[in-house]
Symmetry: C2
Subunit: 120 residues, 2 copies
Amino acid sequence: MSNVKVLPILEPETEPCCPPLNERPLTAEEAERTAVMFKALGDPVRLRLFSSVASHEGGEACVCDISDVGVSQPTVSHHLKKLKEAGLLSSERRGTWVYYRVEPTVLAAMGALLTKAASA
Amino acid sequence: MSNVKVLPILEPETEPCCPPLNERPLTAEEAERTAVMFKALGDPVRLRLFSSVASHEGGEACVCDISDVGVSQPTVSHHLKKLKEAGLLSSERRGTWVYYRVEPTVLAAMGALLTKAASA
């Protein structure tokens, strides 16, 4: 018996947040919801932190794993929380540390907004 | 003879700005460049304007075409200029009006950052 947890492999589904950006003008409500996600990635430090989590071994990281973006640990925590509030990261506490991982469905939805708009 | 201009159909190419966000942590310089684009879409009004241009007939629009986002024409102009500065729109003056259109290569590059990160 192995004690390695086997997680089901889920295909990231595109969340039905909004149509591609070139299909029709977004409504005010759709734009409010979607802008929050883009804004979260619209800061260089948050973007570096996000790519640090996304590219970390196992696809998850805690503050303790991230030390090379030139900001203090409380600042790292603050930005990771912002990314979580925007729906881009999920988190789980294990002992002392909170571990963050990327929300693939949200990313896929954001990507679809852009790539479908780009290729039409 | 037709006087309709036939433009070559170009496949949007992904600009080699950065790797997908889950490949490795972005460098400070990559993050600075990329955050500018996300930030431009991180405002609800700009996002609505962007989708208005992207979904307008012929894939282009001038300020004169956009009147339904609840802000004044100077504000529309201001935001369109911001989107242009971020590389998301290109513009061309024709007579009185400046026409804006979506930059598909930039959008494709942003989309690739996200969708490749989502599906890995």
